[in-house]
């Protein structure tokens, strides 16, 4: 039987934001705040840096645009030049649309798969799922979890700390075997 961390429940989004600030100020690193919906100002409260996902999306979008424009230029100027409606082989205004569409398509892939990469999903097993009560977090409960990998982790201290900052239903995450 291994332990993975401690979770504590809070009542409202506001309580969770305050808890996050206190956990951050106490010096914990490997903690997370779980809620049924994104909470405004939580990133600041937890001291998270801005997501790097934007760069991934930008790079993907640029790739898509270059690929689209390059593909059309290559097909119509190099691979198989054909006279179409008397326009030059390199009729670049006509390439704008496919260039744009591929830019959007690639950016969308960047956004969704980049998000999955940064979030490490799909991941079907996670210690927080060992708690039964925790399942309410996708409905109406607000939880703070502190993981065992945190350098400051000490089960008893963490438990009393979470209790002190107003957490209830404090649970230690343990697997079944």
């Amino acid at each position: 039987m291994n332990t993975y961390g401690v979770i504590a429940r809070f009542d409202t989004p506001l309580a969770l934001v305050h808890a996050a600030e206190k956990v951050k100020d106490a010096g914990f690193k490997d903690f997370d705040c779980h809620s049924p919906f994104p909470i405004h100002g939580m990133d600041d409260a937890m001291g998270l840096k801005r997501s790097k996902l934007g760069y991934v999306i930008g790079a993907m979008g640029l790739t898509g645009a270059l690929f689209g424009f390059g593909l059309q230029t290559w097909i119509h100027s190099i691979e198989y030049p054909m006279n179409i409606s008397g326009k030059p082989f390199f009729a670049y205004p006509a390439y704008a649309i496919i260039t744009f569409e591929l830019m959007v398509l690639f950016s969308a892939f960047g956004a969704v798969f980049g998000m999955m990469y940064f979030n490490s999903i799909p991941r079907f097993h996670h210690p927080v799922f060992y708690s039964d009560k925790f399942s309410r977090v996708t409905s109406d409960a607000f939880y703070v979890s502190i993981e065992i990998s945190d350098p400051k982790y000490n089960e008893e201290e963490v438990k009393s700390f979470l209790e002190k900052i107003g957490g209830t239903d404090i649970e230690v995450l343990k697997d079944e075997n």
């Binding site: 049924p36 996902l53 059309q72 649309i97 569409e101 398509l105 969308a108 999903i121 996670h126």
Partner: protein, 462 residues
Amino acid sequence: MLDNKIKSKAEIRAEKLLPGNQNFTTITDDIAGVPESKKTPIQWWLLFGFALSLLAIFAGSVGFLIWEGTGIWGINNPVFWGWAIINFVWWVGIGHAGTLISAILHLFRQNWRNAINRFAETMTLFAVICALVFPGIHVGRIWLAYWFFPIPNQMGLWPNMRSPLIWDFFAVFTYFTVSLLFWYTGLIPDLATLRDRAKTNLKRKIYGFFALGWRGGNRQWQHYELAYLVLAGISTPLVLSVHSVVSSDFATSIIPGWHTTIFPPYFVAGAIYSGFGMVMTLSIIARKVYNLGHIITVEHLDKMAQIMLLTGCMVGYAYSMEFFVAWYSGNAYESFAFVNRALGPYWWGYWVMIFCNVVVPQFFWFERYRRHIPFLFITSILVNIGMWFERFVIVVVTLHRDFMPGAWAMYNPTIFDVSIYVGTFGLFFTGFLLFLRFLPMVSIAEAKLVLPESNPHHGHEE
């Protein structure tokens, strides 16, 4: 001076959009309760049976079309573009409102969209599938439909990348893919909710598989929100581009009545207009069948009616500009094309279009009509009839009297034109009803954001 005792707009909005004493728990119960419930409403079964029978008609007609060829349609000289393109443009247009609601209104922080966006996005998905059917089957030899793709043939010849029809393929394909990704991304937290509430192990496994192990941590929300925002950001120009590209199928030609520069924004406005009509129809039915009047409120219907008024005025503006410039240009062919629309043998098509798209939405200047549900229901259907006729006027009425008067002819649709069109409703409603039954029709996570207590700064502003 600044400490007004007036309620903040956020509070008023929340009261109007989520009336009654609601909290996070009741929202989850109400919305997730629908797919979880063991009892399926009898109306659902009736509608589903109806949709399935239409789907059977669709399958039969398409099967016969593939067997026999496009000769079974009414297309003939000079009208070689008939119902297939009309239906294609019509269905793609309907899809656009879904993206608009999800994306543009998200960017404009219009929270009211949270109650209807899932709905609208799903509508987009199935509408685009219905639209994609038509280019797929109109090629006749359907097994060669892969010629759409940028793949060279045995002679090393590539599809013409400067052709609007290839642009169409890229645009609609991108649109479908991005809409699917957007829809699915929005669904992930809700699937996790369904997973956590699942009573049977099988349901838990299925929902759990698609929820990808979502656990609602803020470290996840952080990337998730950015991804969602960016998807909204790129969907906005995408949705504008898709119908602009569809309009280029016509506007890059030299046919009088087709070649006109206002086509892109005019098509986009028309698409949004018809799409909102369809969202209105569907949401009035769904809130009736599932008693969701407190989540999809009259307030939402009012807002949608306002957008229909706006876009209805836009298409009215485009019709007038086209007519005015057809005269102003001094081009005899251009003027003829427009006079022929209004006074030619198909005059009724033109005036149905004007009545449904320009006259009917004028009632929405009055709040009374924007909140009158039976009126809204009838209007929303009229709008889609009007928009179908708009495409009919553009496609058939323009072509049936072309440059050579000796070839002028009327267009006679056959039973298969009708059955395939009606059949796509079967495809659409079957998909949509399955969605209503098995997935949350309102975004559970986002519906909660309308409650003031979801904002930790609520009440701490001053």
